[in-house]
C-alpha cells in the first residue's frame, strides 16, 4: 500500500525535476550575462544529480549513486574553475 504511494510520489518528483532542468537549460540559452549562464549551468548539474537520485530510489539500485557521486565532484570542480577563469581570464 505505502509502496505504491511512495512510488507515485517519486515519479511525480522526477517529472517536476525534469521540467525544472528544461527551464534552466532555457535560461542558460537566453541568459542576461555570462555569470547568469554560469549559475544556470551549475543549477542544471544539481538538478541532474536530483534526477539520478530519484531514478536510484525508483529502481532501488545503488549504481546510480556512483554516477551521482562522480557528477557531484566533477560539477563542483567545473563551477570553481569556470568562475576563476571568468574572474581572472586564465585558469591557473
Amino acid at each position: 500500500m505505502i509502496e505504491t504511494w511512495v512510488e507515485w510520489t517519486l515519479i511525480f518528483s522526477l517529472a517536476v525535476h525534469i521540467v525544472l532542468t528544461g527551464v534552466c537549460v532555457w535560461r542558460v540559452w537566453r541568459g542576461q550575462n555570462v555569470i547568469d549562464r554560469l549559475i544556470g549551468a551549475d543549477l542544471v548539474g544539481t538538478l541532474a544529480l536530483a534526477v539520478l537520485v530519484l531514478i536510484a530510489l525508483i529502481e532501488r539500485t545503488s549504481i546510480y549513486f556512483d554516477v551521482a557521486l562522480g557528477l557531484a565532484a566533477l560539477g563542483f570542480m567545473a563551477s570553481i574553475v569556470l568562475a576563476k577563469y571568468l574572474a581572472d581570464q586564465r585558469v591557473l
Partner: protein, 117 residues
C-alpha cells in the same frame, strides 16, 4: 515500520521538490545576479539533500554512499556559490540596492600595483 519509513520518504521527497521549485522560480524571477545565486543555493543544500535523506530510509543497499554524497554536497555547494559570487563582483556586475560594501576596498587593494609594506 515500513509504513512509517514510507511516510518519512513521502514527506522528505515532497519538501525537497518544493525547495527545488522555489529555487528555480527565484532563479527566474529575482532582479540581479547575487539574489539569483542566493536562490539557487537552496536547490542543492535543501532539495537534493532532502532527497538523499529519503534515500537513506528507502534503499538500505548503500547508506555509506548516501552519507558521503550528503557531506560532499553540504561542503561543495556553498563553496561553489561563493566562487561564482566573487567572480561576478570582480567582473564588475553591480549589485542592486546596495546598503554597504566591505568587498570594495579589498578588491581595490588587490588591484593596486604598488607593493604593500
Amino acid at each position: 515500520m515500513e509504513t512509517f519509513f514510507g511516510l518519512i520518504v513521502i514527506l522528505a521527497v515532497l519538501i525537497g521538490t518544493a525547495f527545488s521549485v522555489i529555487g528555480v522560480i527565484g532563479f527566474i524571477r529575482l532582479p540581479d545576479v547575487y539574489t539569483r545565486l542566493h536562490a539557487t543555493g537552496k536547490v542543492s543544500v535543501f532539495g537534493v539533500v532532502l532527497l538523499l535523506l529519503a534515500g537513506l530510509f528507502w534503499t538500505p543497499v548503500s547508506p555509506g554512499k548516501d552519507i558521503v554524497l550528503i557531506g560532499l554536497l553540504l561542503l561543495a555547494a556553498p563553496v561553489a556559490s561563493h566562487a561564482i559570487a566573487s567572480a561576478a563582483y570582480r567582473l564588475g556586475i553591480p549589485p542592486q540596492q546596495l546598503m554597504r560594501n566591505d568587498l570594495a576596498e579589498v578588491v581595490e587593494k588587490e588591484n593596486d600595483p604598488t607593493p604593500q609594506g
